[in-house]
Symmetry: C3
Subunit: 349 residues, 3 copies
């Protein structure tokens, strides 16, 4: 994956100054870029790096007038930051989807349908009757159970485990070690103190453009489906219990846990290490601060919560501020008590 | 896995009304059931679904008198909910244990003993001198180290990692990505600020009917054993440190962590995201609310705790209630102070 | 791995009393040791175990004078505890590094360099252009992406996933299921409420003597590197986000999460289930209690913090103590109010 400065300039519609034949194979920040890298310069604060960087090429503004000689090749464009971002995305897409073919040994069950340009890494496993769309990248050690459906343009990183009957949309990315469809945690207490396992027969459904973080777990439903709607982004080590629904375009930070049957409204933002108890409904656009504990329904859209158990954000901040001053509060009360003794005495004189 | 309505009726001791030759291959709720599914009707609130469901068969009470014509076949029984639950369990057992045989490539070390009706999935690994009981299902990408003992009727889901010397009882289920026997976290501080690793030589022992959740980790003991007693149910993403003992029939929700050498009494119930520090002993039947932090021994049976650090439940609720009203408390105190100034002034007049 | 008592005595520079030809293959505590084990006796409290233990050999002090006959062989040394610890380390090192060779099937990409005495377990995967040092042990189901560099004497336990471009130093141990280099959690909100994935092009760098716990996740940097410096010990189920730096010899307990771009100073100690928000800098030797939430920079070395949000340790303890007595505080205030009413009345008389 090496490109000449001229090729990149053509892609970006820019003008080359210097050696257009130079090859670049990496993108980096101007402070740390090495030979072989392309970088960008848009913030005047970083101008001296332009003259000292080891980068092979710099994307800069058409209006830029260098004060010294510049070693790297320059690509002059309208907006260097936008151009660099566009390049970044192209590069990432290219890098993510350029791999294809089948590495052996790999396992494919009976009656599996696979699309075009897919990659099946060594030691990957696809169970019977599963359907894999076009341009899906299945890395080594991925397990896909029976009757799984995966749409187009998905990337399933190494060691992901997808239980039977899971349905995944298009443009989903599942990071390493994530588990989709494990048995929900359901046990019926018996008279003798033991528990009987409640069979979990449902599945997991992911919409389109869903991203699942590394070692995150989404349990299957008891019956029906645990649903992660389109555009949801889950960070690492998250727990989604059985029969949960996460509304579209909701973003959840690492190590948060959502208990069984809770429904999160669309376009919500949930911080890290949050806990949400089961059987709740949270309105759309709910915001929840890190480490909060939610134990009640949220009926109004767009509210922000904090604390464990959570309160509305501003209220919780007020209580927290006073919590930190509790020792002063206590001494105030003790002073008042003292004064009152004095007053009472004087009163009874 | 398709059965006729007649076959199911025979299993349940029920009477068929309608087409007993219809085939069903799934169980579902009456609201969502599709063709090919069997469902049940026991709550009168759901009666109109009986006339509109797409299900192929409905389990209903002998006493049920339909008000309209019914498309699905009916199976009439004494108690439809119990009958459906029984069917669910049969179906689940059948589905879980019907798979057997060996998929290739798989790896089996020297001197391994395996029982009858086992399944060894592709890319599964069994180390030397290990013993696997009857009817054990080892899914793809499972790693079983050397000298491991697994009893009968266990299901080890994909990607589970079981370190050497682990002992697992009968009827255990380990969900995908769980790790049993990883090295405990023990490091001796050195004079120069570095740490020396303390070797972890012990193992993990699981009793019978233990369920371990996805991506949960149980560390091996430093010496001796980390012990998960019979009937314990662990949810996903739980951390059990070295030398911990979890008493029989204890249930622990997701993302809870238990530090080294702590002993949890039998029949305890621990919520999600709880933290318990090391070297504690908790009495049997202890209940702990979600997100609590336990930093003291619990000597009395059957108590309930909440908060971080935890208090007895009722006490913590009282403190929490006042915490939420701290701003009002503060303004009360300020009013008192004001009044006192006034009183003091009037007193000194 | 069986040694005679004489061999062990020679290693420890001790004197044998009893049968030096006895074979031992395990180390254990004196309370639980069985035949074939060697144990030690240094604490006088445990003396009666010396006469009852099933162990085959006991390491004891030169000065020890038995009161009864002793069945096991004795190895007499200057300091039995130190000798046993030394033996433990030798045994552990031996056990950890004795395995070597290649199990098949395993996968190795083009242009991979591997050192001497390495172990590549069955179903392990090494991508193109990766370099593996001497004496590295790669267990089954390990995934190593392209362009990864691993130093000497590392142990990579089963099912570890190492993304492309990761760099690992010498003497590192990575426990099962850990993920290094997964994509950082970066999404740019769009006008229509959806999110666009920000490409994550950086990598993860581990220094020397780094230990990573089971199912822990370290994300790659957006650009540049997420850095875990030498001597860092991470427990299980920890989340390290993109662009974080963990200073040398820092120890972090299980289930803690550190958000993006935060820098932790060297020789810090962080408890379990701690959350640290993004873009912070924490001074060296910072100590953080379990379940704390850090939301501010720490500029002074060696401070201890507790609470969520965290305060300095002593302050937080004071507030917590009063929090637990809030009901009494409230009734104090109510009594004061009552008294004031009385006083006011008497005042206005």
């Amino acid at each position: 994956m090496e490109f000449s400065v001229n090729q990149i300039a053509a892609l970006l519609g820019g003008t080359v100054i210097g050696n257009g034949e130079l090859k670049v194979n990496n993108l980096d920040k101007i402070e740390t870029a090495q030979a072989g890298s392309i970088t960008f310069f848009s913030n005047i604060k970083y101008e001296n790096f332009v003259y000292t960087t080891q980068a092979s090429a710099i994307i800069a503004a058409k209006t830029f007038e260098p004060k010294q000689e510049i070693a790297p090749a320059l690509i002059l464009v309208e907006d260097p930051y936008l151009a660099f971002t566009a390049l970044l995305e192209e590069y990432h897409k290219f890098k993510s989807f350029s791999i294809s073919g089948v590495e052996e040994p790999s396992f494919i069950g009976k009656n599996v349908t696979t699309g075009e340009s897919i990659y099946r890494g060594a030691f990957s496993y696809i169970g019977e009757n599963s359907t894999i769309g076009d341009n899906v990248k299945i890395y080594p050690h991925v397990y896909i159970g029976n009757n799984v459906k995966i749409g187009n343009n998905c990337i399933i990183f190494p060691g992901v485990k997808i239980y039977a009957d899971t349905v995944i949309g298009n443009y989903c990315t599942i990071q390493a070690g994530a588990v989709l469809g494990s048995d929900g945690f359901g046990f019926a207490p018996q008279a003798d103190g033991t528990y009987k396992t409640i069979p979990q027969l449902g599945n997991v459904i992911l919409g389109d453009h869903v991203d699942i973080g590394a070692n995150t777990v989404v349990d299957c439903a008891t019956m029906g489906s645990t649903i992660i709607e389109s555009g949801v982004k889950l960070d690492n080590l998250i727990q989604i219990a059985h029969n949960v629904t996460i509304g579209a375009n909701t973003v959840i930070a690492a190590q948060t846990g959502i208990a069984g049957s809770t429904k999160i409204g669309h376009n919500s933002m949930i911080g890290g290490q949050v806990g949400i108890i089961g059987h709740l409904t949270l309105a759309p656009k709910t915001k929840i601060g890190a480490q909060s504990g939610i134990n009640k329904n949220v009926t109004e859209e767009g509210k922000t919560f904090l604390g464990s158990p959570a309160q509305e954000y501003a209220q919780n901040l007020k209580s927290l501020t006073i919590f930190r001053k509790l020792p002063e509060l206590l001494s105030k009360i003790e002073k008042i008590e003292e004064k009152l003794v004095h007053l009472s005495v004087s009163d009874t004189k």
